[in-house]
Symmetry: C2
Subunit: 259 residues, 2 copies
């Protein structure tokens, strides 16, 4: 099995190192990750700048390829130019910090896996809840088990699995659940400051408004110490509104523009 | 009616100027847009750098606020800190170049409108098909008509409308259709070059693999010279896979990790 591993924390993060080492038990691992941290870049891709690929060494050994771009760039150029064939699975992570509810939209970790799904490669994004996490053992066991399940059961084309793992010792983890993207969103606050030259600038802060109350949502399940596995896709069509908006009679209403 | 206007081509683009001037007929317009071009940044937000807000003048008159961040940043800080109240509608565009099918995922134009939808503000993203477009009259008539329809009929919370307009004289436009996100994707090619110092670098190029064949998809409708209006949302859950994956028995399969 050929396994492509990426992330958004950068190729020197602890999470991707732990994941890459562990996945060698299941197959041939190639690491292709951003050279620098790319958190919250969403599904950005690099079009107006050239990309460079650098061999990256860790502890004196070749570890993988560093790309001076975004997580989505790593998957595109990784599959197209660096690997000689399409991988059997792409795994993005292990991210430092959870990616649940609205955070999925902003996440570079999820976007790397989503780019793989766009390229018809099965993909898993995996995050642990703490930015300071150093123990990835439980997350690794989940990813290994899930990789075997994906190989056995297959995934719908265009679907990826978004996994979140509490940063807790295994005896405190409640279990593993199949979940949906939660509805919780941020209450954004921009903190206003003055620079040394008297000019205003703003820092984004805020707090997550935790509105999810059932265990079938990633946000509530993770809060209750469950591991969450959510299938997500990149078809953004709002089919309910598509059906409802038939009554707007759009072709008829706009017929008169040309006159 | 309070109208917030943004884009991803930057505050000095022709499209946003044409849109802002036209929308003044319908209400009080505030322009808050990126200081520089932000195409293909997707839903990136700025968290690790401070944001600055600059007043931008055009033809000697105050035009709007330039933000040195992404389209999504503009909507967040625009609504939270610059406008004194929540706008009635957010319009992002007029983008130079279409945003159909898979391009919706990468688009900064769509992400600005999507950030508004996340903040429970009705939103429209609008693009014309040509990067060299200078005539925005038809697109403006569509946006004005659609704004009136949105005010009259309302939009589902969290839904935005993604509009694409052919860059053609009005007599060549086939009509206006309600559509879904198409399935067409890019065949990416990274062009390899050597810099003046003999080091390799890569440019992203490629071509869209046009697999949409029915007029209910944005990609095929725009190809047939229709204006397209697609309702999209930010719930990425793949409900079909969520249902199918119940048979994976995830809680049971992973019960043994702790042992």
């Amino acid at each position: 099995m050929k396994i492509l591993i990426s992330n958004d924390d950068g190729i020197d993060a602890n999470g991707i190192y732990a994941l890459a080492q562990a996945m060698k038990e299941l197959g041939e691992v190639t690491v292709i990750a951003p050279r620098t941290e790319q958190s919250a870049v969403g599904h950005a891709i690099t079009m107006k700048m050239p990309l460079r690929v650098t061999e990256y060494y860790k502890n004196g050994e070749f570890f993988g390829y560093a790309i001076d771009g975004t997580p989505a760039d790593c998957i595109k150029i990784g599959i197209r130019n660096i690997m000689k064939e399409t991988p059997d699975i792409v795994i993005s992570g292990i991210n430092h910090g959870s990616n649940t509810a609205i955070n999925i939209i902003y996440s570079g970790t999820v976007s790397a896996a989503r780019e793989a799904a766009i390229m018809d490669v099965p993909a898993i994004a995996v995050s642990v809840t703490s930015h300071e996490a150093i123990n990835f053992d439980y997350a690794i066991e989940v990813v290994k088990g899930l990789t075997k399940l994906v190989v056995k059961n297959g995934l719908e084309r265009g679907t990826l699995l978004n996994v979140n793992v509490p940063d807790l010792p295994s005896e405190k983890i409640s279990g593993v659940l199949l979940t949906k993207q939660g509805k919780s969103k941020w209450d954004d606050i921009y903190e206003e400051r003055l620079d040394p030259y008297g000019k205003k600038y703003f820092w984004l802060t805020g707090k997550l408004m935790d509105t999810d109350i059932t265990l079938d949502t990633d946000q509530n399940a993770i809060k209750n110490n469950y591991v969450t596995i959510s299938p997500i896709h990149f078809d953004l069509t709002d089919y309910k509104s598509y059906d409802n908006m038939q009554s707007w009679n759009i072709p008829e209403v706009f017929r008169n523009i040309k006159e």
